[in-house]
Amino acid sequence: MAISNVDGQKVWQRRDRNTQFKIWFAWFIGTAVFMWCWQQISAATTWQFFWDAPRIAADIGGRAVPPRWSYMDKLWEPLWDTLNIATLGTVLALMMAVPVAFMAARNTTPSALFVRPIALLIIVSTRSINSLIWALLLVKILGPGVFAGLVAISIRSIGFCAKLLYEAIEEIDETQVEAITATGASRWQVMAYGIVPQVLPAFAGIAVFRWDINLRESTVLGLVGAGGIGLQLQGSLNTLAWPQVSLILLVILFAVVVSEWVSAKVRGAII
């Protein structure tokens, strides 16, 4: 805030000269860095490929149309697998995430010194690794197939669900908990009456949100052999069967749109 005195009149400006200069300088640095990066990238680009790209894309596009509709016969089963991976993976993840969340929330943790750090570690470690990488690992351990994908999805989701849930638990209204405690309720009753009703909407929201994400993620798990429609996608890409690729992409798009619709409905119903 800058107020200066000009001829006995108080003049107000949003920023004083120093701040103004700092902001200008920050913009200058930012622009310079951007230009430099641009130059680096353009030097490293093979421009032949770049100028060629529209023609290749048009070529692939041309080969991909029309989609090979008859291939759909072979897609129903992997599609069902994909849906199962997403749904069961989410359910499994939620079952593990709920206790972790209660252990991680400051107001419900049994011990802020010992248990909470462990719970937070579980959350961070499961969250930080992408489900595709989990799947790569698990395919080696469990062998290829739907089960590896399911476990990959559920492990990746624990951290996500537990983090959102424990934040919801920490934001509850403590006076409601106090009131239930004051009636002489046991610890579990306080949980069931004072805390659970308050976090239930958040829980349902998190569940459908994560299910929605998991459906997308499970469509690519097949790329590393963990079951689902990604397996067909990879096979079709490798054999340059473009009409099949376009059909699979359409099917994935359709599945995602449906999942969006379902989660929107569910969220609307519970709030």
Binding site: T183, Y193, Q198
Partner: protein
Amino acid sequence: MLRLKKLTKIYKTGDRALNDVDLEVPTGQVLALIGPSGAGKSTLIRCINRLVEPTSGTVELGDVELTGLGLGGLRKERRRMGMIFQEYALVERLTVMENVLSGRLGYVGFWRSFLRKYPQKDVDEAFRLLDRVGLVEMADKRADELSGGQRQRVGICRALIQNPSVLLVDEPTASLDPKTSRQIMRLIVELCKERELAAIVNIHDVALAQMFVSRIVGLKLGTMVFDGTPAELTEGVLTRIYGDEDWSETIQKVEDEDEMDAAQ
């Protein structure tokens, strides 16, 4: 009979919220606790049912010393102490009936309460209480659909269904309009009389306290500075509790309102 002896609470921050408070509340007496914000009124109430752990001193309810109890014993004794809150503290997403029945949690096992299979006599009592406060049609509504005054009535039912021998009431009218405040205060006092309950009522509104209760205790910075009848609450006393201010209007107004009430 509720007896506090040399009750002291020092918070971790070093704030001395209660300072050697000695207080006896005989059965059937409704006592108003007044004092400025931060005087320790809420702390005092919460030290009785140990939502806040007192630092030293004792609290006795009947012949049980509450301050020495373990967790199980404390839970059992909490059933005898009903609590009513400033912001109602109902579980917003549960129904009115569930909120009232939650007052029985101390008597009912976990699974019964979890599955909402309360004994029929508890349900009967819940309906009787809701009827008493005029909310029987609301039993199936969710608590967040009610108005402030209605919510506080549900809060009262929840406290009473515990079948308590003492009521701890924390600013019951602070979030209510003047008319509803009076109705709620009147209801609390009536119910205490019906059931011969001792009650401690924290209250900001001095005039309202004078209207309804027979004994007033003044708290200032954690120390009791006044204990007497509403009539003894003079300008001098109010200055002692709250500090310098022109109190003549406050006291004058009470008499006016009493006359208005009498005229109605």
